[in-house]
Each structure stands twice: as structure tokens, then as C-alpha cells.
């Protein structure tokens, strides 16, 4: 069992004990512990269950590569699933729970899957669930959904806050080990603006554990001296607990900073959005597991992780640790354990005759070293109790058994090439060191066509301290020079550590392991992929590494195969009989490890989730019971329900009152574009399908805009202000789009035309005063003459009303007498208040968008977005009158001549009246005879707008119907998802005041 040592632990503070719980069990740790080190210190080696077979799983690693030890962290609003214990700093009161088991971690019913494992081979899901289809929905999917997934999804709202931060640097260095520190020193001394990031809370990386000599000092001393020196450099900024998450186009980088856990003020995570001229990836390397049977038992760990726990946290992984390796580096673990008073019964080395300085030191310490040997299998059910040894050259016959509590394995090191690769950096296979390493000649390229990422240190395949330091320094100096820094970098620090003999690649232990062993040799711990699965995939023809990955799910878990990818790749290439570089790697995708959704959202939550656009009268509306609806980013009142009134009732009251008395509509959201210049008339004649250049000053005209495709895009009333100036109203959602559309044509096509456009939408509050008593209200306000004679229908005039400067448009979207009045937005509320007061005796009431919609539908006015959907042309809506025949050209004109547009079979706008007076369902289809090639019922039209008309007391609708205008009086049936088809008669779309007498008074 693992436990806390009485001494040691360079990162923990034994004077600061912390308490935490795991699965409800109270445990103790120290400040500086990770959750993983604290669990081990408490003897908790079993920490979770695997995804597929529910095998017992323990802590394998000590960093970001950990595949097993994921927990549900926190509770309620603080719950976060799949949190990596090896990268979670311990804090007081931390609550963790293990995942993927039922009912308990110790007794998990799902573990039965292990016994069924020969029925759950690679590609099992694909093979099993393809037939019969109906079983999928009702049997398989619910089962898989229940058993899939690791942690619990939170059900409560996250109470923490998050933020973004944008930084721009000359040189970004990712990784605060000795290569990164060395690079920062060089770049900082050269005067570059440097940002140095380290994902853990401490500087120095592996060197702080393995303690090479640097500049004649122990590594830790050099590290703290260098950190202090860097702090003194004015252009260098340093951040710990900040992970370089992804490298993107043109030097864009996301970094994920962990600020605090629990209780403290301020954001919990900060997402850095960094734009770097040059990036140095000094991201280190990850030790590879070895593939022997039962290598997934709790207690089997990476050799480097074992010495991390001893040196950094004073934690013993077990009294007796057997070390199994194919390289010299793992011997360091033997020395560390030996020095700490723990027992190393044996170092099992796959190589025939290792004899390097580290090997000799271990032998001198009296530790047994067996060469040419491997592990046949690990013994134990939920814990390691021993290992069975075999010859590497055989099939796994057991030669000897040894009792132990921990197995420390090392299959060699894989440089962390993720960040190098994210944006296209290429790799080479280094056969001598058995690793993929970045190819400096094929870096990701930036805007200047040159590389913008330089990789350094172990991440670049250098395993010796002196090389790592020099490489880091050279990278830092090179990056600074590339970014334009002019200073001198100085000299690289010098380092020293023991020589090492070459690694012997071992992809399967022993080399000829029989199936029974291969089927228990894990590659991907989290997704339960074994050597035998990858071999089966190869047998079944999955030759591409990307296909084999998806078929077996190798590397597809939350750890993205940090431990398994290279081993899996090697097994696949062996099974295919090809070389590793020919098989290639899968794609490395950001983020390097998962980042919180909160950090991605940043400040965008609650009221700041998205910008809500508010008119000058918004606050009044909110205070007066408005039921808001979104219109683009705007919020507009749908209706103003009064106490005890439903929204539906309110809408009907508002329509009736507007038709009988007077209503007020906040129309401020309507787009308002000023188009001005000597060529403005010519320009508008191109923008609109109808003629705008001929509009007299002082008058208004309704206009249509089409895309070049001929489809109706926007509509609105245009007013001519003076000889050179027009004011174009657009739809509420359309102002920015139409403004951009106009600028596009002016800038990119007709750039010699003298026209300027200004978007003044928000300069004005615009209020529609609508209804038979509208004029009386304005007269009560006092000011300009608003009589029929002074201001006839479809004209506008400037003046004052109630002492406020106004521009009044006599336009109507309701069919009633109507004035649309624009005032400066800052006086919008004052003007609204004045209208409400002046109209009180006339029964004035505000109305919302639904009343607006009903009144326009009663009049047969189209609405962009209802009658149009990007496939409708003006001719479909019987708007041919608005297509100027006098003009040679306008946007959309050429398209209207295409055969499909100029086709008598297009569906056209009509009114629809249900026979029973009910309201047709929105979007319902008109049913035609027969069925189409897919066996679906043929259609002959669809409903585009449908309402209950309070004015007429029955349902009214508009729709597009095949040959509709020629079929007045015909009755057709419409689909109804809630019952039998509904019969409706084709009628004129103008249901109310067909002669337009009411608006023109």
C-alpha cells in the first residue's frame, strides 16, 4: 500500500495540513500536494474504474498525461466531472468522488464486462448494433447512454466567474522547465517582450526532481536563481498554473490559467488569447508505459511518476517496487527509492547487456538487475501483489515470481509535440531514440511564410541536460531575433548529467507474447484498448491510423491518448508489417488537456451572455408590463398584458384599441440609413427594384431590395430629404446588413460613384402613433400642422410637437391613420411620455409586435422573414408593380430572367380563410393529389403568416399557393400535426379595408 514517508517532499509544507474527502472518507494532506499525491499518501491506490470493462484503476502518472485518476470534483454548483487528480492542487475542504462505477468503487457490477471481454472486441459497437435497426433506439442506445460517459454532469448553475485576457508578445514560451527558463533568459536578455507559461504551480520541470548539475550548481538552485533573474528583466512576464492549450493560425495561442479553487474573490480561470510573433514550445516529454499483461492494475505506475511522488510529495508508492525498463532513465527511480529507505527488489531490464553509469550506480547500491527479461504479467486483483517474470525472447513462460506492491515501468520518452503540431508542424521518426520529434525544417508557417514555432529541449527530443539548456537558449535567442529584438542574448547555461546507453524499443512484453497476455496488455487505459484490439483492427483491414483509432477508440478518451498513442501506433505498424513513420500519427488537436467551459465563455454569462439591444423606451416598457420578444439582438415588446389578462387577450385589446382609438408603437428598431451625394439617386435605383431617383423631395415610397440571386431581401419606406439625400428605412433586423450591403457595392463595384451612406438607426427614437384618433393626439401635443392638407399620406415634414424637434412620416403599416415620428433618441422617453399624456383622453395605449403583425396581416402587407425565406421573389408576392420596367438594371433583375424564376408554376401569395374560422397552423402545407418519388404526399402551397383576427373575429392567413391568384374561391386542405387536415378557401390577402380609405384620411 502507498503511504506518506516520514521525511521529504520538496513541494509540500508539513506545517500546513489540509483535510479533504474522497468518496465521503475524510483524508489529510498538506499544502503543496496534488489530489493524486494526497490520495496515495492516504493509501488510496484504487481511484476509479475503466470505461468499458470497469477494471480497477489507480494513479499511473504524476501530470497532465494521467489517464485513470479522474474524479467528480466538488458538489452542487461546484461539481466538475473528469477532473485530473494529478493536476488538481489540494485545497482545504476539497471533495472528490470516483467515477464510472455502480454501486461502489470497491464493488462494481459493471466489472462483469471484464469476464465478457472476449465478446467486446475492437469495433464491438459497430458490429453489434448495426442490426436490427429498431433495437438501436429502444434497447442499445438507452443502455449505452447509461453506461457511457465518465463523470456526472453538473445539474446546478456554476457560481464561479471566469474571464478572458488578450495579450500580444514577441516571444511566447510554453513550458517552465529548464529549456523554457533557458529560452526565456535568452529572449529576455535580447530585449524581446516575453511571456513564459508553466502549466504546474512550480518552475523547473523534471530537472527539479532528477537534479542534474547546471552552471556548477544543483538544478534546483539554478532554477530559483534563474526565476529571480527573469523577474528582474523588464520585458519578461511569467505565469505558473497556466497551460498553453492550443496553437492556431498566425501565432494565435490559447492559454488556460488556473487562478484559485474555492472561496476566493475574482475569476477562477482565465483564458489567455495570445498573439505571439514567435512561439517556443518547451513542453517536455511524456514517459511511455510498457505493454505487459495486467499493466493496468493499481500500483503499476510510470517510473518517473514514482520518483515524482517520492521527491516532490514525500509519498511512498509501496514498500517494494519492481522496476521494469528498456532504458537507463528508469534506474533513477531505483536510486531515489533506495535513498528514501524503500525496497527495490529488482530492476528488470529488457535490454541484453546494459552497462551505463546509472546502471552501475544501481548495481553498486546492491540492487538486483536482471537483463534480457520482462514482465509476463502483474499479479493481483485490485492491487499489485507481485510480478511474474519471463524472458524477453519467449512467449511469456513464467521463470520467476516476485512479491511487490508497486511496478515502476519505463518504455522510453515521447516528446510532447502537441503544440508544435496543432497548426501544422511536421514530425520525424527518430529510430535511435524511438520517438517522434519535430522536424525543424517543417514548422507551422505564419503570415510571412516562415515558421513561427520553435521547439526546444526535451520536446525537441533532447534527453540530456546540456543539450536541453543549449537548445532552449538557442530557441529563445532565435525567436527573439526573429521577432525583431536587437539586444544580445549572452551565453547558454551549461549542464551536466550522466551518460546513457541507447534505448531498446519494446512495444510488447515479451516480444512474442501469446494472445492470452496480449489480451490483457493495456494500451489505452481510459478507453480499455489492448494490444490484441489494435492487432485485430489491423487484421480486419484498418490500415490507416485514423481509421484504426476510431475503430478501436484508441486515444479517443479525455486524455487523448497521451500515454497510448505511440505504443498503439507501434503495435499497429508491427501488425501491418510497415515502419512506424509510414503509418504516421493521428492528428494532434487542441486543447492540450481539457479546459473548462466557463473559461471559454469568460464574462459572457447571465446579463452579459449576449448584448441585448435596447431602444430609448425600453425601461418604460419593462416597467409597464411588456412581454418582450427577441428581434435580432433587439428586445421588443410582444404585448403589454395587464393584470389578470393573458398575453393573447392583451394582443386583442391592443389591436381593437388601435383600430378604434389610438395606439403607440415603439418603432425605434427600424433601420435608418442616410444615402447622400450627387449619384445617390442612381445608386438607390440599383439597390431597390423600383425607382427611387424619381421620388419628389418631401415624399415617401415603399421599396423592395433583392439579392443578386433575385430573392427578396429587405423592404421599407424611403423618404427623399433633399435633392441629394434620401433616408432609407430598413427592417428592424436589417439595418446593419443593408448598411454593409450598400457599402459593399459602393466600395467594391461602383467606387467612382459619389455617394456616402451613414447608419443613423440609433440616433432616433421612432414612435408610430396609429389609429383614427392619432391626429387628435398630435394636435393636443401642439406644434406643427399635421392636417391631411399640410401632411398628406406618404409625405414627411420636419417641425416640433410638444416642444420637441420631430420629423413626421405619414406612412402606415396597419391600414389606419398613422404618423411615424422620429425624435433624437435622448428625448425619446420624454416624447413618449408626452404622447401618453396627450392621448390619455383619447384612450391611447401602447401596443406590441404581435398587434403590429396582426394589423399588417389584416391588410395583406408582407413581412420580410414571414412571407420571405430567402427563396421568395417579389413576383411570388404579386409585387410586380414594384419592379421597375424603366430601369435597365437593378440588383436581382438579371436573376428574375432565369428560367426557374420566370416560371408560371411558382407558388404565389393569396389569403386563406378556414371554413370553420379556426387559425391555420403556421408553416402548414397545402395538400395536393398523389405522392412524390419518396412516397410523401404532394404539396401545393404553404402558410406564411397566420393569426386570429380580432377585427374580423376569425382566423386569417397568408400563404403561397400554386397558381393561387387564379384560384380564388377554391378550397384546399392544409396539414395539421394535431388532427385532421384543415380546409381553407383561397381569398384575397387584403382582409381589411381593401380600398385603403382608413389610412388616407
Amino acid at each position: 500500500m502507498s503511504t506518506r514517508l516520514s521525511k521529504g517532499g520538496r513541494l509540500i509544507d508539513r506545517t500546513k495540513p489540509l483535510s479533504f474527502s474522497f468518496n465521503g472518507k475524510q483524508m489529510r494532506g498538506y499544502a503543496g500536494d496534488t489530489l493524486a499525491s494526497a490520495l496515495l499518501a492516504n493509501g488510496q491506490t484504487l481511484v476509479g474504474r475503466s470505461f468499458k470493462y470497469h477494471r480497477a484503476r489507480g494513479i499511473v502518472a504524476s501530470g497532465a498525461e494521467e489517464p485513470n485518476a479522474l474524479v467528480n470534483l466538488g458538489e452542487g454548483a461546484k461539481l466538475e466531472p473528469n477532473q485530473r487528480t494529478t493536476t488538481t492542487p489540494l485545497f482545504d475542504g476539497l471533495k472528490a468522488a470516483s467515477q464510472n462505477h455502480w454501486p461502489t468503487l470497491e464493488f462494481d457490477v459493471g466489472a462483469i464486462n471484464t469476464l465478457l471481454s472476449r465478446f467486446l472486441p475492437a469495433g464491438f459497437y459497430y458490429k453489434m448494433f448495426i442490426h436490427p435497426r429498431p433495437l438501436w433506439k429502444h434497447v442499445y442506445e438507452p443502455f449505452i447512454r447509461k453506461s457511457a460517459g465518465l463523470g456526472k454532469a453538473p445539474t446546478e448553475k456554476d457560481t464561479d466567474t471566469y474571464e478572458h485576457y488578450n495579450a500580444h508578445v514577441d516571444v511566447l514560451i510554453i513550458g517552465g522547465g529548464i529549456a523554457g527558463l533557458s529560452a526565456a533568459l535568452a529572449a529576455g536578455q535580447a530585449g524581446a517582450r516575453v511571456l513564459l507559461l508553466e502549466q504546474t504551480p512550480v518552475w523547473g520541470g523534471r530537472a527539479a526532481v532528477d537534479m542534474p548539475e547546471i552552471e556548477g550548481k544543483p538544478a534546483t538552485e539554478w532554477i530559483s536563481d534563474t526565476v529571480a533573474a527573469l523577474r528582474g528583466l523588464p520585458t519578461v512576464t511569467m505565469r505558473t498554473s497556466c497551460m498553453g492549450a492550443g496553437v492556431y493560425d498566425h501565432g494565435y495561442v490559447l492559454a488556460y490559467e488556473h487562478l484559485h479553487e474555492g472561496g476566493k474573490q475574482g475569476p477562477r480561470h482565465r483564458l489567455w488569447r495570445i498573439r505571439a510573433n514567435q512561439i517556443v514550445t518547451a513542453t517536455g516529454a511524456i514517459e511511455r508505459p510498457l505493454s505487459f499483461a495486467a499493466n493496468d492494475l493499481p500500483g503499476v505506475m510510470l517510473a518517473s511518476a514514482v520518483r515524482d511522488y517520492v521527491v516532490n510529495y514525500g509519498v511512498s508508492p509501496g514498500d517494494r517496487t519492481v522496476i521494469v525498463t528498456n532504458n537507463d532513465d528508469a534506474y533513477r527511480t531505483a536510486l531515489v527509492l533506495h535513498k528514501s529507505g524503500l525496497t527495490v527488489p529488482m530492476v528488470v531490464d529488457a535490454r541484453a547487456d546494459p552497462d551505463g553509469p546509472l546502471v552501475r550506480k544501481v548495481c553498486e547500491a546492491g540492487i538486483a538487475v536482471r537483463t534480457g527479461m520482462g514482465i509476463a504479467k502483474v499479479k493481483g486483483l485490485r492491487d499489485v501483489v507481485g510480478v511474474a517474470l519471463c524472458s524477453m525472447e519467449g512467449e511469456g513462460a513464467v521463470l520467476e515470481e516476485l512479491p511487490c506492491e508497486c511496478v515502476a515501468m519505463s518504455g522510453g520518452w515521447s516528446p510532447i509535440v502537441h503544440l508544435w503540431s496543432h497548426c501544422g508542424g511536421k514530425l520525424n521518426w527518430d529510430a535511435e531514440q524511438a520517438m517522434f520529434r519535430p522536424d525543424p525544417n517543417r514548422p507551422p508557417t505564419g503570415a510571412d511564410g516562415k515558421g513561427f514555432v520553435i521547439t526546444a529541449g526535451t520536446a525537441n527530443g533532447h534527453l540530456f541536460t546540456s543539450d536541453v539548456l543549449t537548445d532552449g537558449f538557442t530557441a529563445g535567442a532565435g525567436a527573439a531575433a526573429q521577432a525583431g529584438a536587437k539586444g544580445k542574448a549572452g551565453d547558454a547555461p551549461e549542464g551536466f548529467d550522466e551518460a546513457q546507453e541507447p534505448i531498446q524499443p519494446v512495444w510488447m512484453m515479451p516480444y512474442g507474447a501469446k494472445h492470452k497476455l496480449r489480451a490483457k496488455a493495456w494500451l489505452d487505459y481510459q478507453n480499455d484498448v489492448k494490444v490484441s484490439d489494435v492487432q485485430l483492427a489491423a487484421q480486419e483491414g484498418f490500415e490507416s491510423v485514423e481509421h484504426a483509432k476510431r475503430y478501436t477508440t484508441l486515444g479517443m478518451a479525455t486524455d487523448q491518448g497521451k500515454l497510448s498513442n505511440i505504443n498503439g501506433l507501434a503495435v499497429l505498424s508491427n501488425a501491418l508489417g510497415s515502419d512506424i513513420p509510414d503509418v504516421g500519427t493521428t492528428t494532434f488537436r487542441p486543447p492540450y488537456t481539457p479546459i473548462s467551459l466557463g473559461s471559454i465563455a469568460g464574462a459572457a454569462k447571465d446579463d452579459l451572455f449576449q448584448p441585448i439591444r435596447k431602444t430609448p423606451i425600453y425601461d418604460w416598457q419593462a416597467a409597464n408590463g411588456a412581454d418582450f420578444e427577441p428581434v435580432g439582438y433587439w428586445r421588443r415588446p410582444y404585448a403589454f398584458p395587464r393584470r389578470e389578462e393573458t398575453v393573447h387577450e392583451a394582443v386583442h385589446r391592443e389591436v381593437k384599441n388601435t383600430r378604434e382609438n389610438v395606439g403607440l408603437l415603439d418603432a425605434s428598431t427600424l433601420g435608418k440609413l442616410i444615402v447622400s451625394g450627387p449619384d445617390a439617386g442612381k445608386f438607390l435605383d440599383m439597390m431597390y427594384t423600383n425607382m427611387m431617383s424619381s421620388l419628389p423631395v418631401g415624399k415617401c415610397r415603399y421599396g423592395l431590395m433583392c439579392s443578386e440571386n433575385g430573392f427578396l431581401m429587405d423592404d421599407g419606406v424611403v423618404a427623399r430629404i433633399n435633392e441629394d439625400t434620401w433616408l432609407c428605412h430598413t427592417t428592424s433586423g436589417g439595418a446593419d446588413h443593408i448598411h454593409g450591403w450598400m457599402e459593399d457595392w459602393l466600395q467594391c463595384e461602383w467606387w467612382d460613384w459619389k455617394v456616402y451612406v451613414a447608419n443613423v438607426t440609433e440616433q432616433y427614437a421612432q414612435v408610430a402613433v396609429v389609429g383614427p384618433k392619432a391626429r387628435k393626439v398630435l394636435e393636443a401635443l401642439g406644434g406643427m400642422d399635421v392636417s391631411k392638407e399640410a401632411l398628406p399620406f406618404m409625405q414627411w415634414a420636419d417641425g416640433t410637437l410638444g416642444g420637441i424637434k420631430v420629423r413626421v412620416y405619414r406612412i402606415s403599416f396597419s391600414g389606419e391613420l398613422s404618423y411615424e415620428i422620429a425624435v433624437d433618441a435622448s428625448q425619446g422617453q420624454a416624447f413618449w411620455d408626452a404622447l401618453m399624456a396627450a392621448g390619455e383622453s383619447h384612450g391611447i395605449m401602447p401596443y406590441g409586435t404581435e398587434a403590429l403583425h396582426i394589423m399588417r396581416a389584416e391588410k395583406g402587407f408582407i413581412m420580410i422573414g414571414d412571407e420571405t425565406d430567402g427563396t421568395v421573389i417579389p413576383q411570388d408576392l404579386n409585387l410586380n408593380w414594384a419592379l421597375s420596367k424603366k430601369k435597365d438594371d437593378y440588383l436581382g433583375k438579371r436573376a428574375h430572367g432565369r428560367s426557374h424564376m420566370d416560371n408560371p408554376d411558382r407558388w404565389k401569395l393569396v389569403g386563406l380563410e378556414t371554413l370553420d374560422g379556426s387559425v391555420l397552423p403556421d408553416g402548414a402545407y397545402g395538400i395536393a393529389d398523389g405522392t412524390n418519388a419518396n412516397g410523401q404526399v404532394n404539396t401545393q402551397g404553404r402558410v406564411t403568416s397566420t393569426y386570429h383576427s380580432p377585427t374580423l373575429g376569425r382566423g386569417i392567413a397568408m400563404g403561397l399557393v400554386h397558381n393561387g391568384p387564379d384560384r380564388m374561391g377554391d378550397v384546399i386542405s392544409f396539414t395539421n400535426t394535431h388532427g385532421d387536415p384543415i380546409k381553407a378557401k383561397i381569398v384575397s390577402p387584403v382582409f381589411y379595408d381593401p380600398d385603403g380609405e382608413k389610412q388616407n384620411v
Binding site: 478572458h164 488569447r273 464574462a603 446579463d607 435596447k614 430609448p616 440616433q763 428625448q827
Partner: protein, 190 residues
């Protein structure tokens, strides 16, 4: 004009970095040929500020001239002076192709002030705000969070921010939230 109110109604979010409504300000969008002598003269005369170079803002007290694009300026004057200013521009540029429009009411304006102001704004915009890259007198049009905005620094610790009126509340709250979240200790140490 007595009943005119700024969109933010005098809102203030106090703190080490304070966000404050800058109140009503007269603003005129002027589009035209910026190299035109008459145009330059009327702008400098109206504002008392010198004519800005590309990407710059010049000021004279509350007045100023913002370079917005190669054919667009934003003139800052007092709120009550806009009407007369528009008339003067019309007279000065009569016969010259231009467009002048009052946008005073179409905007919200606020200040972000405090030692960490650069860091607070850098939480929200992709623009490089390092003192070596962005200094007093420069103007940027970019985004703050999810909306368009323009800003410049009137001194080393004060940003002037202009946004569209309809999203002024969002912009204010976003800046106030960023200020409240505390320092980043990045640019303030630069």
C-alpha cells in the same frame, strides 16, 4: 433640450478602475475627402483641435476630432452645439461632396479610469494595448466583448469609450464586470 438624457443616465461603477458615464456629447459623423482644405478648416475651427493623422484622435477640452476611416471623421463638440456645427459644415462644404450627420444620440460614451485600466480593457478587445503599441492620442475601432466600440486614452490611465446607444448598458456592465474582477498584473507592470 432640457429633457435630453444620456443613455447611461450618469451611471458610475466605482473601484480601483472606475467606469463612468461620460454624459451627453455632441457627435457628428463627417464623411468626405479628408485631404480637402475646406473640410480640414471647418473641423479645426469647430472643435479647436488640430486635424488628426490616420488612426489618431486630437482634442481640445471636451471637443475633439477622431479619425474613423480614410473618408470619415467623428467630430466631438458639446451636445448643444451640434445644430450650429452642422449648419457651419453645410455652409463651408456647400458644393463639395460630403455627408454630415448628427449621431450624438446614437452613441453611449464612458470612461474607464485607474492604474489598471489597460488590463481591464485588454480583457475585452483583441487590440494590442501594450504602451509600446498603443498610446495617448491613438484611436482604435474594434470590439469590446461582442459589440463594436471605439476608444482612445486621454492620459496614461484613462480610456474614453464610445459604443452604440442600444448596447451602452451591455458595454458599461461588461467594463464594470471586468474592472470588478480585479487586476491581471500584466500591462500595468509593462
Amino acid at each position: 433640450m432640457s429633457n435630453a438624457v444620456s443613455v447611461l443616465g450618469g451611471k458610475v461603477a466605482e473601484g480601483p478602475v472606475a467606469v463612468r458615464d461620460a454624459g451627453l456629447r455632441g457627435m457628428i459623423t463627417l464623411r468626405g475627402d479628408l485631404s480637402d482644405q475646406k473640410l480640414q478648416e471647418v473641423c479645426t475651427k469647430l472643435t479647436g483641435a488640430t486635424f488628426p493623422a490616420k488612426g489618431q484622435v486630437t482634442s481640445a477640452g471636451e471637443n475633439g476630432i477622431c479619425w474613423m476611416s480614410p473618408d470619415e471623421l467623428l467630430l466631438l463638440v458639446s451636445y448643444g452645439a451640434v445644430g450650429e456645427a452642422l449648419e457651419e459644415i453645410g455652409k463651408a462644404l456647400s458644393g463639395t461632396h460630403h455627408l454630415a450627420a448628427n449621431v450624438s444620440d446614437a452613441r453611449g460614451m464612458m470612461t474607464v479610469a485607474g492604474a489598471d485600466a489597460r488590463d481591464v480593457v485588454a480583457k475585452l478587445t483583441p487590440v494590442d494595448l501594450h504602451p509600446d503599441s498603443f498610446g495617448v492620442g491613438e484611436l482604435r475601432r474594434t470590439r469590446l466583448g461582442q459589440v463594436a466600440a471605439a476608444f482612445w486614452m486621454s492620459d496614461e490611465t484613462t480610456f474614453n469609450v464610445i459604443c452604440f446607444r442600444s448596447v451602452a448598458q451591455y458595454t458599461f456592465d461588461l467594463l464594470a464586470t471586468s474592472a470588478l474582477a480585479g487586476p491581471v498584473d500584466y500591462l500595468s507592470q509593462a
